[in-house]
Symmetry: C2
Subunit: 129 residues, 2 copies
């Protein structure tokens, strides 16, 4: 069962920027653009354990992402769901695969690899236009 509409799956398949909304400890939303990848089931993000976003996601696993189409910016997909796992990425392998997807060629793992994690987001509901 996939909640992503076929008409808008391209917005997850293309290397666009997803505006990820999380919830701060005081209950206020926080949102900023992120790289991501999509395997047809989960959406994956890279982050580090030193970020406020990491503290947000640890405390509140329910998040949302909004991606719009650069060529038709009113065309968008919102995915709401839950971060089902936070996996370590201490060798930076996921970070490097994302960087490659976004057209960056890096020589080796990032300096902050030891703190790198992967958010594994399971989509649960969507809105789109």
């Amino acid at each position: 069962m996939n909640t992503i509409p076929g008409s808008h799956a391209d917005l997850l398949e293309r290397p666009l920027y997803g505006h990820l909304a999380t919830t701060r400890p005081d209950g206020q939303p926080q949102v900023n653009p992120m790289w991501y990848s999509y395997d047809g089931e989960f959406i994956y993000f890279t982050n580090t354990t030193t970020r406020q976003k990491y503290r947000n996601v640890q405390a509140e696993r329910r998040v949302a992402i909004s991606v719009n189409d650069p060529e038709q910016p009113y065309r968008y997909l919102e995915v709401r769901g839950e971060v089902e796992r936070i996996d370590p990425d201490t060798d930076g392998a996921f970070f490097l695969s994302l960087a490659k997807r976004y057209g960056m060629t890096l020589e080796g793992p990032p300096a902050d690899a030891a703190e790198r994690v992967v958010y594994v987001l399971r989509p649960q509901s969507v809105s789109y236009q």
Copy 2:
């Protein structure tokens, strides 16, 4: 006192799409692209009273918006703040001014003008890159 950094004010001044994060009644964030305008103090959005977003904002005035630069998508501005007022726009005047800002020429007020409102967001804190 303005919290918007001069280096990133162009992202509010240009007619880009802002990904507005609000909080649903069950506490989950919701986010989608929106038109907006900025007068140097407040950020303004159009919405209708029939939308889930309206119910969200009525119950939780604290919201956040993320805008990135289409020419350099890693360059972004996040603004967190509070919807200080929800003004009626029952003649659709604000909607029409926004539509014009975004390059749409409309003949008259929208069909849903009776339900149109303006969110008046006071910026309180930012993050940017």
